[in-house]
């Protein structure tokens, strides 16, 4: 796989996404998996685990683990939106928590890179629990482009 790959090809996108996600040890540690990278919106899923709870009594996910999942999904959306295999870094990420994420149910993250400039990439993500009409959180992030290939 080189820098002249066709990122509009769904099969190529799926393979890049698979390798990108697999190269992040913490994704594997928490069980964050890729569900769909065929279109501009990348969908990932984080299965519920008791270790992710922030509020035991109310049975709610901690917001920190949602932040981690959003960062990973946003990074993947940016990586797929850029030409080649350019290394990127999160510059900043803001997350709004619209409603609590309930324990027992998975977290679905849908990230879209909506704008790319020479040095930056801009991305949004919606997080929900299998009901896209009821987002638990929204993220807005800016990534810097390093100009270097991840293969370098």
């Amino acid at each position: 796989m080189d820098d002249t790959i066709d990122k509009t090809d769904p099969a190529v996108r799926a393979e890049i996404a698979r390798r990108f996600a697999a190269a992040i040890p913490h994704n594997a540690a928490i069980g964050l998996v890729l569900e769909d990278a065929a279109t501009d919106t990348v969908r990932m899923r984080l299965g519920y685990q008791a270790a992710f709870i922030g509020n035991v009594e109310a049975g709610l996910w901690h917001t920190g683990i949602a932040f981690t999942a959003a960062d990973s999904a946003c990074g993947l959306a940016v990586f797929l939106a850029l030409p080649g295999l350019e290394a990127i870094a999160t510059l900043d990420l803001r997350m709004d928590h619209l409603r609590p994420a309930l324990a027992g149910a998975d977290l679905v993250i849908e990230a879209t890179c909506h704008h790319v400039t020479e040095r930056m990439a801009f991305v949004n993500a919606d997080l929900h629990q299998d009901d896209p009409a009821r987002c638990v959180a929204r993220a807005t992030a800016t990534f810097t482009r390093t100009g270097k290939s991840v293969l370098a």
């Binding site: 190269a23 040890p25 540690a29 035991v56 920190g64 510059l91 928590h97």
Partner: protein
């Protein structure tokens, strides 16, 4: 008063930070520890672990783990600093990444900027080996509920 609130109140009263961390499973998962500095302020520490790595080639910690440390530091600081124990729920969190986080322990300090009737606001900074080379900054707003 609920069992969770009782656990938090008891932990707060005795400044029993391990019990405070234990009341939050995700803080336990990250291995969060609260240390008391000489000046009486608190430091929130997350030891390095291989499974926290986000970029294996650098290597660097996953930015989300640093964000979570900052967020938990702000949350605990808001809880600890309050006259009555109320659980602060994050409404929004923003993290600025200043430097990549190397494969060593992270330390965060947090400050409760304002605490009103319904809303609190906090800031936090994370550093690794050198306090004068911070790696990330966080700010957060919390909505306050009565326990």
């Amino acid at each position: 008063m609920s069992t969770r609130a009782n656990a938090l109140t008891a932990a707060l009263a005795g400044a029993d930070y391990p019990a405070l961390v234990q009341a939050v499973p995700y803080a336990t998962y990250l291995g969060l520890a609260v240390e008391l500095a000489e000046d009486g302020s608190r430091r929130y520490v997350m030891d390095f672990r291989d499974d926290l790595i986000g970029n294996a080639s650098l290597p660097a910690l996953h930015g989300g783990t640093v964000a979570s440390l900052l967020s938990l530091a702000m949350q605990f600081e808001a809880l600890i600093d309050m006259p009555a124990p109320r659980l602060p729920d994050p409404v929004d969190v923003t993290i600025d990444y200043w430097r990549s986080a190397g494969p060593v322990r992270c330390t965060a300090t947090a400050r409760l900027i304002r605490s009103g009737r319904h809303v609190a606001q906090a800031q936090a900074v994370c550093y690794q080996e050198h306090v004068d080379r911070p790696i990330a900054f966080g700010r957060s707003a919390f909505v306050l509920r009565n326990v």
